[in-house]
């Protein structure tokens, strides 16, 4: 569902450009709204969420889709934790559909999906590994790396049970905005994938903005 935001960029209390292949690890406070902006279009922002007070409570793709009764995320979707609590709600979305069953790219899964020779190409899960290693104060480890949201990615499932990675339905300047229902650690890998036509083989920056 397309829903535009009323928030103005100049009123944001924080903004950060995250280049492709980098990560962002940031706490968003309860009540704050944050936006991920697809600056140049068809980028994938592979995102995980954790409860600041107890990171073992985290975003859960399976609980979110089961409880909303649908696969795709858009405005109105409540993002649930593994404790079935609402962590965030998507309050604005100019893209219309986001994936949460396609997971994140990894060097190991790249060998399966593309070629064994692609094994050392940079991947989202490596960005997350670096994020948890460089930010030990959050107490995150590989056990916390679970199934993510792929903001701006289009992974349609057919009624017969097929699944495709389609060209993105995002475009330059499209964004998704979420309101936090709890103090939340946001962990984004801005996807460095060079083998998937969904980003035209050209990963680009995203921007993250926060409003009180």
């Amino acid at each position: 569902m397309i829903k535009e935001s009323l928030l103005k960029k100049e009123n944001a209390i924080y903004s950060e450009v995250v280049p492709a292949g980098d990560y962002l690890l940031k706490v968003v406070k309860k009540g704050q709204t944050f936006r991920i902006l697809d600056s140049e279009g068809n980028q994938a922002a592979d995102t995980l969420f954790y409860n600041v007070d107890d990171p073992s409570e985290r975003y859960s793709a399976i609980d979110t889709i089961r409880e909303q009764g649908g696969l795709y995320l858009t405005a109105g979707s409540k993002l649930l934790s593994n404790e079935n609590n609402v962590m965030l709600e998507i309050v604005a979305d100019t893209c219309g559909r986001h994936d949460t069953i396609g997971g994140a790219c990894a060097t190991e899964s790249n060998t399966v999906r593309y070629a064994l020779e692609k094994k050392c190409m940079h991947a989202c899960r490596d960005s997350w590994m670096l994020a948890i290693a460089e930010n030990e104060e959050y107490g995150l480890s590989k056990r916390d790396i679970t199934h993510n949201i792929n903001f701006f990615m289009n992974v349609p499932v057919s009624e017969e049970g097929g699944l495709r990675f389609e060209d993105g339905i995002s475009a330059p300047g499209k964004y998704v905005e979420m309101k936090a229902y709890m103090d939340t650690i946001v962990l984004i890998s801005n996807c460095p994938q060079l083998n998937n036509p969904c980003n035209a083989y050209n990963p680009t920056p995203v921007e993250v903005l926060v409003w009180d």
Partner: protein, 252 residues
């Protein structure tokens, strides 16, 4: 360790037993053996998770499994992947046709709301057990916890999605006598429960037992149907082969 003892003939049933309804269990499956699960009454559900017993951080990964085979449903020919690009097991036989891996588990609260609470105190082992607690119990036996719980399989249960992504639970998906065979391609710790699928709309808590057999597998041939299901699976099998070169604990 590599055994000098000759392996039993392919197809030999090494062990068989039944998981009663609404229970949980865990077991290690050896590379080269098959776990055959049989839905005794029809309408069963088997929640299942896989871990590498020598590195418990390597675990079943549903998104990797679905996207590399371009499928939402799991059935014969599909392989079930770890997050490290390796294949825990292949679905070598399946009379059901569709198994779910995106809907997770029932919780204690969900069971209470859907089917009412039946405590151990009042009902002993006929209590209304839930899938989430079942996995927690089995995980804890290996030093694991809720952080280690990944998106699980719900074998025998099917959930489809329409063009808008709206989920639909398929009633009558698995019938009495339906079976699935998982051939293990590496040593695997298997966690399972027989609690109902969380989207099962049954009025009464469905109590469905599952019979199982551990069977000696035939060697994987070059023309194997799972290996040749797609190029991705050929590469997955290659990853397993490379892994076993370095592992030193192949049981072939």
């Amino acid at each position: 360790m590599t055994s000098l003892k000759k392996s039993p003939e392919a197809g030999t049933i090494l062990y068989e037993d039944t998981f009663s309804a609404a229970c949980h269990w865990s077991m290690q499956m050896r590379k080269g053996t098959v776990l055959k699960l049989i839905d005794v009454e029809g309408g069963a559900n088997a929640g299942m998770l896989f871990y590498n017993p020598t590195n418990l951080l390597e675990r079943y990964n549903a998104p990797d499994t679905l996207k590399c085979q371009h499928t939402f449903k799991l059935t014969k020919g599909n392989c079930l992947y770890s997050d490290m690009g390796r294949i825990f097991c292949s679905i070598t036989e399946d009379s059901v046709g569709w198994h779910d891996t995106v809907c997770g588990n029932t919780t204690k609260d969900m069971v209470k709301e859907k089917w009412g609470e039946k405590t151990y105190q009042d009902h002993h082992n006929d209590w209304n057990q839930n899938g989430y607690s079942s996995f927690l119990v089995e995980l804890a036996k290996y030093g694991l916890g809720k952080k280690d719980m990944a998106a699980n399989l719900n074998l025998f249960s099917a959930v489809s999605a329409d063009d808008d992504g709206v989920l639909k639970f398929a009633e009558g998906n698995s019938k009495a006598g339906d079976a699935i065979e998982l051939r293990f391609e590496m040593d695997t710790l298997v966690l399972l429960h027989t609690c109902p699928h969380p989207l099962n709309p049954a009025k009464e808590y469905p109590k469905k037992p599952i019979k199982y057999q551990i069977i000696q597998a035939a060697s994987v041939t070059e023309d194997d149907a799972c290996k040749n299901f797609c190029d991705e699976n050929k590469r997955g099998f290659k990853n397993n082969e490379i892994y076993h070169l370095g592992g030193g604990y192949s049981h072939d």
